[in-house]
């Protein structure tokens, strides 16, 4: 099996460059051919293969090393050690406006960008109409780029890439800019490109886009691969990790802010199941209990929400809508219990969220979340099983 691109044991260390002494030392080391080994390590033992026709997402928190990884892959950066092999024509959009010069017209910049992406003058002349049509910025193409909005620059940059049609397309968080309709246009183009056998490697913080466009995902954490494989488990674990991190921060903030609030004291799923993340099958009952701090005589409002692991909301219900009030358990504690007696969720990872709100049901005071999994084999699509029957 031939890979379009392969990274083997790639390590990248950025040398210290703040002091002129460091710079001179580095210069000397480079000239005599000695590797610089001290500095900040950004990538550590990365192994990665990109197969033809695959669409691969690189996800990870800010500063995890995603962009550095792309730069190493595209040859912008040379790794400190390890090997990078690329057997394909590559177009990388590490930043859409890269290489655009302010003083020059959009047209001039398209020419330069096209030659940066390896298009010859003849090829460009052939495709210029197509590029302008895709960018769709009208007569502004003859205006200097400094008068462009960021959206217009993005349009132009992406339009040039559509004309190049590389074997491997590498994008870094580019779809975040541009208006809705242009984003939709780009996504449609990428989908078409993938359908025609193109290969995509993208960095994105939008799990929606990642799941929509990619089959596989790699989760980079602190410079090394934390998880890789099919896009859904990887993105779900990644999101869960974020939720946990956020919950920890919330817990810290809560400890600092002290009492006098309707805070959740405990939240548990009532179950005799032994797994850490309880497993359910479709149609089982899911019971949960939440105990809330109650600093005064008023009763807080409770809102329960069911979400998919990626955060997509499925169902939410609040106590005041249904005229339910809390049960007092001690002088300053009260309790809500809920039972979803026919859990009609399709197999997948889910979370149950408990939101404690003030007695008026207006202000959110506290949130906690518990994960659970629905197992089973089902060919139904979507998140829930709706009651239905087939008619003659």
């Amino acid at each position: 099996m031939k890979f379009l691109a392969e990274l083997q044991a790639v390590e990248k260390i950025f040398p210290h460059t703040n002091h002129s002494k460091d710079r001179l030392k580095a210069l000397g080391n480079l000239l005599i051919g000695r590797a610089v080994k001290s500095g900040s390590k950004v990538l550590d033992d990365i192994n990665l293969q990109v197969r033809a026709g695959e669409s691969l997402a690189i996800i990870g928190a800010n500063g995890a090393g995603k962009s550095t990884l792309l730069k190493v892959l595209t040859g912008v950066l040379r790794p400190t050690s390890g090997t990078v092999t690329v057997n394909a024509t590559v177009a990388a959009l590490l930043e859409l406006g890269a290489g655009f010069q302010d003083e020059f017209s959009g047209m001039e910049n398209v020419r330069l960008k096209a030659s940066l992406l390896g298009l010859t003058r003849a090829e460009l002349n052939e495709k210029i109409e197509e590029i302008l049509a895709f960018a769709d910025i009208g007569e502004s193409i003859h205006e200097p780029v400094k008068h462009y909005s960021s959206g217009m620059i993005v349009r132009l940059g992406f339009a040039v890439v559509t004309a190049v049609k590389p074997e491997l397309l590498i994008t870094d968080e580019i779809l975040a800019v541009g208006d809705e309709s242009f984003q939709a246009k780009c996504i449609r183009w990428i989908e078409e490109y993938l359908a025609q056998g193109g290969t995509l490697l993208m960095v994105s913080h939008s799990m929606y886009q990642v799941q929509k466009l990619c089959q596989h995902a790699i989760w980079i954490d602190d410079g090394s691969v934390r998880m890789s494989g099919d896009v859904f488990p990887v993105t779900q674990s990644y999101l869960a990790w974020h939720e946990q991190k956020y919950a920890k921060e919330l817990q810290l903030a809560r400890n600092e802010s002290g009492n006098g609030q309707y805070l959740i004291k405990s939240f548990r799923i009532i179950t005799d199941k032994i797994e850490e993340t309880p497993l359910y099958t479709i149609g089982e009952a899911l019971r949960a209990e939440v105990i809330i701090n109650q600093p005064d005589e008023q009763m807080p409002v409770m809102l329960f929400g069911l979400v998919r692991a990626d955060g997509t909301p499925i169902y939410g219900v609040s106590s005041d809508q249904e005229g339910v009030s809390a049960t007092k358990v001690s002088e300053n504690l009260c309790r809500y219990r809920i039972c979803f007696n026919d859990l009609s969720l399709l197999p997948g990872s889910y979370s149950l969220r408990a939101h404690a709100m003030d007695p008026q049901g207006l202000r959110l005071c506290d949130t906690q979340e518990l994960a659970f999994i629905v197992t089973g084999a089902s060919r139904e699509m979507g998140f829930v099983r709706l009651p239905h029957y087939w008619e003659d």
Binding site: L24, A92, A98, S115
Partner: protein, 257 residues
């Protein structure tokens, strides 16, 4: 390789345009500017200083100066502009996989193209004023100018890559080039230098370059000169060294921007 060629062509176009884009008459300045300079030098050196060199009794001082001065300007301008050529394109080098050497190469090339146009127009005007320019000498002159281009390229590669690591180069280079200018027989002739210093000046490749140009274009002496061959040869060696030097450093440029 082909991609880099297209890129250099595009960058050269861009550089030439950017220098003349905002001016009213645009590219006309390529011709007007050198002619104005020629006028000023004529006034200062011929009328005020009454400058004379023994070799230029028949032609006058101004053609003697002009023939050496424009190639020098092209050379010095190329090297000085190259100093920043990599660092100012850091944004691009950081985002796109591109061989960094295209930046000094296109800067030197663009500067040489622009000054060649100026040089030709100056030669034309000089001959219109009745000075006998040996146009046949243009052919060997082109070889000499290619040597000069090679020297500018070599130094451009060296200074542009060094400047990534040692930013002080931007401040050191202009006075150094000024020193070089006065160390080259452009405003004077080497025969005015005491004999014992003359062989030191011969070590300067620019001395051979400007003297050959004068020989070819002004006196019509087309004989092959061993020193010139040697100069070309050493420039070739220097160029090979500069390319090695640049490529040694360029993979790590991104780490030091």
């Amino acid at each position: 390789m082909h991609k880099n060629f297209t890129l250099v062509r595009e960058l050269v176009r861009r550089e030439i345009r950017s220098r003349y884009l905002d001016s009213l008459s645009g590219l006309a300045w390529l011709v007007i500017q050198p002619l104005m300079l020629l006028l000023i030098y004529g006034f200062v050196f011929v009328i005020i200083f009454k400058a004379k060199v023994p070799e230029a009794n028949t032609t006058g001082f101004l053609p003697y100066l002009a023939i050496a001065f424009w190639p020098w300007t092209a050379f010095s301008d190329s090297v000085l502009r190259s100093v920043n050529s990599v660092t100012t394109n850091a944004g691009l080098i950081n985002k796109v996989a591109v061989s960094a050497e295209i930046f000094p190469i296109s800067m030197v090339t663009a500067t040489f193209i622009m000054h060649s146009i100026g040089y030709l127009s100056v030669l034309l005007v000089i001959s219109l004023f009745g000075i006998d320019i040996h146009w046949l000498g243009l052919l060997p002159s082109i070889v000499v100018l290619i040597f000069l281009y090679g020297l500018a390229l070599a130094l451009g590669l060296l200074v542009s890559s060094l400047n990534v690591f040692i930013r002080d180069l931007e401040h050191i280079m202009p006075p150094l080039m000024m020193l070089w200018f006065f160390g080259t027989p452009i405003l004077y002739s080497i025969s005015l230098i005491p004999d014992k210093y003359q062989h030191w000046m011969r070590l300067n490749p620019m001395t051979e370059i400007v003297d050959s140009l004068r020989g070819f274009l002004l006196w019509g002496e087309y004989s092959v000169n061993l020193t010139l061959v040697l100069t070309g040869f050493s420039i070739g060696l220097l160029l090979i060294f500069s390319v090695w030097f640049f490529r040694r450093l360029s993979p790590r440029f991104e780490d030091f921007f």
